[in-house]
């Protein structure tokens, strides 16, 4: 039920989505360039959530593999129903050879049920050569490597209105303190420094995740995600205190945040009559800006990386799609190795819409400066972690009006009560993490 970048926007439509995507799931594409390579005559089944333009681009990647190996690859889209579709296929004894999963939790579950094939030594070597350690760890379950991350998204991007920044004499900041200074420059020029759309809490949880990953580091982040440390931990206090320095400053934050939807907050920054100069969210904001139609991404709508808090190294929160294999045969292994190689991503990258976590992909191939910058931030990050609220039980991290989302809204409205906020988060987490 989740595609990492947009699922929250679609929650109310989930019911309709299931129906639509079940129908979409029937669409099947066959690429027909069966050549005469090593695996001529083999047929591989590949499934992923992608449809439409993404499906066409991924099929181009698979076609490159067909040409290289001689195997025939059939692609099927399972839409948003990865868990259900794969579960049914596994039960029926006919899983695809390779599937792309958007949730690490699903990969871990399939791995612990014994449905996944560990990566071959050659594939592991390819991953080790091309990916940073964060991605290797994310593709592993209980110390065994199962997955190759093919596609990623970056949720550590701070988008700003270049016209307003220029008029105010503000520039992309060096770190969190400088960030507050730059926002004050914008506020001095008569515009709000930053617009927040906190009608529902998910943008706020993303704020917290970025600050927490920066201040506490990846290991603590993982422990908090699994509720191995309580939310009353001092590391959470540090992160909330940092957030409060911004959220508690009425001169910098546009008023009325709690009643503004996220798309509205984008319009407040990039619309025809901008009222604020900065907005934080993931790389998908580029889509919102383009939809709004008043600013041009790459020209007067640019982004900088989420500012480093307390001198931390570059860290990125995000999401992605991981390739896992269900069958133990040479052709499948060859496909996994191919997906781990820069050549596979380089087929899609120039077409747009793919941010590759593969370090050895030639970033010159990205179609524009903004997407190149997003990809470089992602591969350049020393720490990468998945969006925490996607990894926690949905009663805690994914329910409007409750848990993580709602408590962060309350914290935005009254950032002075850090201890009370931590206690509320701990209470909500304790109730949601029962096994």
């Amino acid at each position: 039920m989740r595609s990492i970048t947009h699922h929250r926007l679609f929650t109310p439509l989930a019911g309709a989505g299931i129906l639509a995507l079940t129908l979409a799931g029937c669409s099947q594409g066959t690429t027909d360039a069966a050549g005469s390579g090593e695996f001529a005559g083999d047929t591989l089944e590949v499934s992923a959530a992608w449809s439409g333009a993404e499906q066409a681009n991924f099929e181009a990647v698979l076609a490159a593999f067909e040409e290289q190996s001689g195997a025939t690859v059939n692609y099927t889209s399972f839409g948003d129903n990865a868990a259900t579709t794969l579960g049914t296929q596994i039960e029926g004894g006919s899983p695809p050879n390779v599937a792309m999963l958007a949730q690490p939790a699903l990969m871990n579950q399939l791995a612990s049920d014994g449905n996944l094939q560990p990566l071959s030594d050659a594939a592991s070597a390819a991953v080790a050569e091309n990916y940073s350690q964060s991605w290797v760890d994310l593709g592993s379950s209980d110390g065994t490597q199962y997955g190759v991350w093919f596609k990623a998204s970056n949720k550590s991007t701070m988008w700003y209105n270049v016209d307003l920044y220029d008029a105010a004499g503000a520039v992309a900041p060096a770190d969190w303190d400088d960030f507050l200074v730059q926002l004050q420059l914008v506020a001095d020029s008569g515009y709000a420094g930053i617009s927040i759309g906190a009608d529902v809490g998910w943008p706020l949880t993303d704020w917290f995740e970025n600050v927490y990953l920066q201040t506490a580091g990846g290991e603590m982040y993982d422990q908090l995600t699994n509720h191995e440390i309580p939310w009353t931990d001092p590391s959470v206090t540090v992160a909330l205190d940092a957030l409060a320095t911004l959220w508690g400053n009425d001169a910098l934050v546009q008023s009325g945040a709690a009643q503004r939807t996220f798309p509205e907050s984008v319009t407040e920054v990039f619309g025809a009559d901008p009222q604020a100069a900065t907005i934080y969210e993931g790389d998908f904001v580029a889509g919102n800006i383009t939809d709004d139609g008043n600013s041009v991404v790459g020209e007067n709508a640019l982004f900088f990386d989420f500012p480093s808090v307390n001198g931390s190294a570059p860290a990125v929160v995000g999401g992605g799609d991981v390739a896992v294999s269900f069958t133990d045969d040479a052709a499948t292994d060859a496909l996994m190795q191919f997906l781990a190689s820069p050549e596979a991503a380089e087929v899609w990258v120039p077409k747009g819409g793919l941010t590759s976590p593969n370090n050895n992909v030639d970033t010159a191939l990205y179609p524009d400066e903004t997407s190149r910058q997003i990809a470089e931030a992602l591969t350049g990050a020393e720490t990468f972690r998945f969006d925490m609220s996607d990894l926690t039980p949905s009663a805690f991290g994914g329910t409007p009006g409750q848990g993580f989302w709602q408590i962060m809204i309350q914290f935005l409205q009254d950032p002075s009560d850090v201890a009370g906020t931590q206690q509320a988060l701990e209470d909500a987490a304790a109730a949601a993490y029962v096994d």
């Binding site: 929650t11 220029d166 008029a167 105010a168 004499g169 503000a170 420059l185 506020a187 001095d188 020029s189 008569g190 515009y191 906190a198 009608d199 529902v200 809490g201 001169a251 009325g256 709690a258 009643q259 503004r260 939807t261 039980p393 949905s394 009663a395 994914g398 329910t399 409007p400 009006g401 409750q402 989302w405 709602q406 809204i409 409205q413 029962v434």
Partner: protein, 426 residues
């Protein structure tokens, strides 16, 4: 004979059992099991239900709904029905009042959410409120939202920007301001300039926009590219609070306060220079959200009450009203002693139907409140959906809430059924 009756009843009975009885029984059973349905938890879900804050708010809100909405709808419906009877074009009016019933609840919710948006640029209600306020002279300040530069000895006291320290005649008091947009400065404004030296009995100074477009300059200093702010009222205030002198700044932002005595004065720029104006009411905030949703409900359902009552009105015996009028009763007496009692069966049906309807209210409460006030607007049906399907994934607790809702609706249903039976017997 019995077999024939059974034969005719069987299809309906099977359908009822499968679609009504079985779901109710299964919900009862499910409410005694844990979130994943695996473990029997006894009354735990019911205990959770009454001890948990969000459910408690939901129950409290449902009580408010039941107390307010059905009465308001029935009274309004009665008023419309009785009054519209007496005018021409009544069908047209009735059609208009009934119209909201034709709109889906979801769409009505979206309409109301739009109408009650906080920003006067988005919400029509606040736009009207602000426009009315503006007509009475609010919000026409020249530089709304301006603030003093920090750390230069100026304070912002409820919109009044003033010098922290008192100044004696013969000195200079400067006001570097920020937070004014470059395009909000009037075209007549010129480069800010240092005011001349103050002579005896004078205090001089400059009010300027302490921002250089494109950046640069030193904070608190008059640099090239910083404009003066013309037309700002400047007061010299005595310790007692009396205004000793007042003036306005010129195009370069300079002012001269003349005719001052030997004591010290606080130099203040009054709030009328910076008043942002009335920004309207925060309708969708936690405090008002339930009222707004109930209002939208009344807008929709008053039409239904009116149509029901009007049909009852057309069926009553007019000779009784005529007789009362002949006997000298005034119109109020006719209404309260004759018409209303004759209408009471219809009124009760309308009222009870509305109570049942209000207890189950879902769509409006789901659509109208923004996230921040969702918990404040919560009702049982929404809570039930949220905990079972909206992310909570706890169908045990959800079932318990469903049973609570059923129990709350039962008395009204029993009253309605009794009513129908009595009517059939009489």
């Amino acid at each position: 004979m019995f077999l024939i009756a059974l034969g005719f009843l069987a299809p309906a009975l099977v359908l009822l059992a499968g679609l009504v009885l079985y779901p109710i029984l299964y919900t009862v059973v499910r409410s005694f099991f844990s979130a994943d349905g695996g473990a029997f938890v006894g009354w735990d879900n019911y205990v959770t239900m009454f001890t948990n804050d969000s459910t408690f708010t939901a129950i409290r809100n449902n009580v408010i709904w039941v107390l307010v909405a059905p009465v308001a709808c029935t009274v309004l419906g009665l008023l419309f029905a009785v009054l519209l009877e007496k005018i021409k074009w009544s069908t047209a009016f009735k059609l208009i009042i009934f119209m909201p019933m034709a709109i889906s609840m979801l769409a009505a919710g979206v309409i109301f959410r739009g109408m009650f948006q906080e920003s006067p640029n988005l919400g029509v209600v606040n736009a009207a409120v602000v426009a009315v306020n503006g007509a009475f002279g609010g919000g026409d300040a020249a530089y709304p939202g301006a603030n003093p530069r920090t750390d230069v000895g100026l304070i912002n006291d409820n919109g009044v920007i003033a010098s922290e320290a008192a100044a004696a005649a013969g000195t200079e008091v400067n006001f570097p301001l920020v937070g004014v947009r470059a395009d909000a400065v009037p075209a007549s404004a010129a480069q800010a300039e240092i005011a001349g030296t103050a002579s005896a009995g004078q205090i001089t100074g400059t009010v300027w926009l302490d921002v250089v477009t494109g950046g640069g300059g030193t904070n608190g200093q008059i640099d090239d590219g910083k404009t003066g702010l013309p037309g700002i009222q400047v007061d010299a205030v005595e310790a007692s609070g009396t205004i000793a002198a007042t003036t306005e700044t010129d195009a370069a932002g300079r002012y001269v306060l003349d005719g001052l005595g030997t004591e010290s004065y606080r130099i203040a720029l009054p709030a009328s220079n910076f008043d942002e104006g009335y920004q309207g009411v925060s309708w969708l905030s936690s405090g008002l959200i339930t009222a707004v949703i109930i209002l939208s409900y009344i807008w929709i359902w008053a039409g239904f009450a009116m149509v029901m009552i009007a049909s009852g009105l057309s069926a009553i015996d007019r000779s009784l009203q005529e007789a009362a009028r002949m006997d000298g009763a005034n119109e109020w007496k006719v209404f309260s002693r004759i018409t209303a009692p004759l209408l009471s069966p219809v009124l009760i049906v309308v009222f009870v139907t509305l109570i049942i309807n209000v207890l189950k209210i879902f769509d409006l409460v789901y659509v109208i409140p923004p996230g921040a006030s969702k918990p404040a607007a919560n009702v049982i049906a929404v809570e039930m959906w949220t905990v079972s399907f909206g992310g909570g994934s706890n169908q045990g607790l959800g079932s318990a809430l469903a049973i609570l809702l059923l129990i709350l609706v039962l008395p009204s249903m029993i009253i309605n059924v009794r009513k129908f039976r009595q009517e059939r017997q009489s």
